[in-house]
Subunit: 456 residues, 2 copies
């Protein structure tokens, strides 16, 4: 029996665990056992989705979410629970409608893109020009003048969702200014999802700072985009678009902070973070209620287990990720003096799927070491170290050289609901959240506790 | 070789085919080969979904659909292409909106149920009472007075979709009058679907003829129903509901007819049918554009192949299946004298899935014989004879003793889109339609051609 145990020990060591039956393997087991029995994260995201729901920057709903997060973190017994004030953009969609007016009337499902200007009160009515790439837009040339340009670029089921989203994103983000330069009067963008049951998906757009006209921009459903493309193939199609979108003066908001203070080097910080704001439709359940719940419950789990690491673990719940990044920038500015002592920053902002591992913002010299630590998560199959985008908010810490890690989750169905009325609690499987908490709590604890830090 | 062929022949005979290498097996092969190479049905449903779209009784869109069907049947070269006038109900939804007003404002996605009265212009505002069964409604008793009752009965993925829909249907159909008897001021009904991405699903409701008040009734999305149930669990929830629904005087409409006249007994009829009307959202692609396309293309396939059966095959495309059945009743009345010579009536109204076989309105003495004929469809795996509901419209022929057969299709994802904005062309797989046409054209031909008919 001893020989067999020794062999297992050697195998585990060969597989790269940080010491066979060493303290971190025990810690990982304790965390996994505790998280596996707890519905704490689900209870948190259920409360946020149910009692608050959608919470765009500048709204009373986001203020309620911030108060809820502060109260919940305090109730969990954390140290230094605080709000850190930030001024956020305030955009509202108002009333909006779109319909085909020729060849025959048809209603369209529409959501203005965040940041869009409104139309005149009577709306704009124009013929639709359909393109699926910027090359096709350029080929339109003067043919775009006076038109409503539809960007009909498809995300497809079966493509890697993150990459597919990345390919489609420029049309939503830059489409308006690109079309405006050619004289278009408005743009419609096919929703960024590979699967649709009729709901449009909103998201941020940005006007170019080059003097090109600021024209209205809205998402339409996949179904309606395909309908317009088929109709336009048959003959001229006219659409009427009315958007009540408005940008208001900046509004007061706040990041929410809480800590598990380090036992030896409390001034060295491991950030675990997510964003508290959401778009103004649905319940912000996966984007990013789940991330907030996973982060909050990870700290609660460590505290419940009495696992106080060498360094401080700090929860940061950012405001205004969706349309501005004021929370992330505000955190980086307010804590500038402290950033050299940030030994790592984690973000959770990719839904509520099962954990796969961690993403590292491209190849990193410390990736191999991170992989050895992630092997602690073999029992929950979250060992991958992936050189991809780790999360929008922690990118604000990149310039300071903070090692960045995104909790990587199965995102096969994330974009089905992302930024739409369908981002609701019913899509979340509590079993995934338990494993997500185990993955984040373990990795954050080990990074905050072990002697070594990653060279910056 | 001969011996082996004889063995195969004996095996096929043992499996119940109607004569080994007999004329119908050859016919079935010819039809399957032709249908398998043709996108005729897809082209037809694409035209209807794209050029017409949603087409509720009483609307100009349904008139366009009727003209399109007549013209398409004429272009396919059929005999006796005709419109048979019918007066249909005319209901319209008008503007509508619903929102939670307390404990905090939240928008709800809403679609009035077909046939509902409207609210007063200012809407109704009341506390919500949530029930999931009629027993729970009864238990509410006086607690329903002055409330908006939410019927939160769930269809679940994994349940047989047809049965699950059947269980949920009474809440949509009868819920308003049942709640009104207890003093409720309006009802909301959880949409009848097991999978949702935020869209509500409408459908017909009917007020009881017992003097109970006619209160407004609307569908809300699965997501919003679950949200209301969770909120109501936490405390009182108030909803504001405003429906512009109205019932107008009856409107002129028509069934569309076309024939492949029989070569020996043209006065004996096999009906193949579907309904041309749809609800007023989406494109009516699966309900029942696909059925119309399958029926129309089945007749076109037989004509293209020069397969003129002994008896007449008649296409009937009913108007007003969704909210009245005036088309089906009109056909039965107009053709009453002919019904004794209707040897069978097929209906296609369950989406656009792969064919499974035929449903027979309960056990039938001729089911075994039908099963032997359906074995001709073994190559396309459509051999099932199922004693279930064959289709709403042909039920009007039941009293006349006409043998009824529904084309049974895989309906795993039918209710995901049914009666919603998501019932659109993109959900239809042309490969399924090819097999659906092969199944219907073969079975209709054989029933119309062979010497025997089913005892009535």
């Amino acid at each position: 029996m001893l020989a067999r145990a020794a062999l297992a020990c050697a195998l585990v060591a060969a597989l790269g665990a940080a010491g066979c039956r060493g303290p971190y393997r025990d810690v990982a087991e304790r965390i996994a056992n505790d998280a596996g029995r707890s519905d704490g994260a689900y209870v948190k995201v259920a409360a946020l989705a149910t009692e608050v729901g959608a919470r765009l920057s500048g709204t009373p709903a986001l203020e309620r979410a911030i108060a809820w997060a502060r109260d919940t973190l305090a109730r969990d017994g954390h140290e230094n629970v605080a709000l850190e004030p930030v001024t956020v953009p305030h955009w509202s969609r108002g009333a909006e409608a779109a319909e085909i007016v020729a060849p025959a009337p048809r209603k369209l499902a529409v959501l203005a893109l965040g940041g869009s200007v409104g139309t005149p009160p009577e709306g704009v009515t124009a013929e639709v020009a359909v393109v699926s790439t910027f090359e096709e837009l350029a080929a339109l040339g003067a043919g775009a003048r006076g038109k409503i340009v539809l960007f009909d670029h498809a995300m497809r089921a079966g493509e890697p969702p993150g990459a597919s989203y990345g390919h489609a994103l420029p049309f939503r983000r830059e489409g308006a200014s690109r079309a405006a330069k050619l004289g278009a009067v408005a743009v419609l963008v096919r929703s960024l999802t590979a699967r649709s049951l009729g709901a449009p998906h909103t998201g941020a757009m940005k006007y170019a700072d080059d003097g090109s006209p600021r024209i209205p921009a809205a998402a339409i459903s996949v179904e309606d985009a395909e309908l317009l493309a088929r109709l336009a193939h048959l003959g001229p199609v006219k659409v009427h678009l009315a958007l009540g979108a408005e940008t208001h003066p900046g509004a007061p908001s706040a990041n929410v902070i809480a800590e598990l203070r380090g036992r030896e080097r409390p001034d060295e910080i491991v950030v675990i973070s997510a964003h508290l704001d959401s778009w103004d439709v649905g319940q912000g359940a996966q984007d990013d209620g789940a991330g907030c719940a996973i982060v909050m419950e990870s700290l609660a789990t460590l505290r419940r287990l009495g696992l106080r690491p060498r360094r401080t673990i700090r929860v940061v719940l950012y405001t205004n990720e969706e349309n501005g990044g004021a929370g992330a920038n505000g955190y980086a500015a307010a804590h500038a003096a402290e950033l050299p002592r940030h030994v790592a920053a984690f973000e959770v902002d990719s839904g509520a799927g099962a954990p796969r591992g961690f993403s590292t913002d491209g190849p990193q010299p410390w990736a191999g070491d991170a992989k050895r630590l992630a092997n602690l998560l073999a029992p929950i199959r979250a060992t991958a170290i992936i050189p991809s985008f780790p999360g929008e908010d922690i990118m604000a810490l990149k310039r300071a050289g903070v090692p960045l890690l995104g909790l990587s989750l199965d995102n096969e169905h994330y974009f089905d609901v992302h930024h739409s009325v369908a981002d609701t609690l019913d899509k979340i499987d509590p079993a995934n959240l338990r494993r997500d908490v185990a993955a984040l709590a373990t990795m954050a604890y080990v990074v905050a506790d072990r002697a070594e830090t990653w060279r910056r």
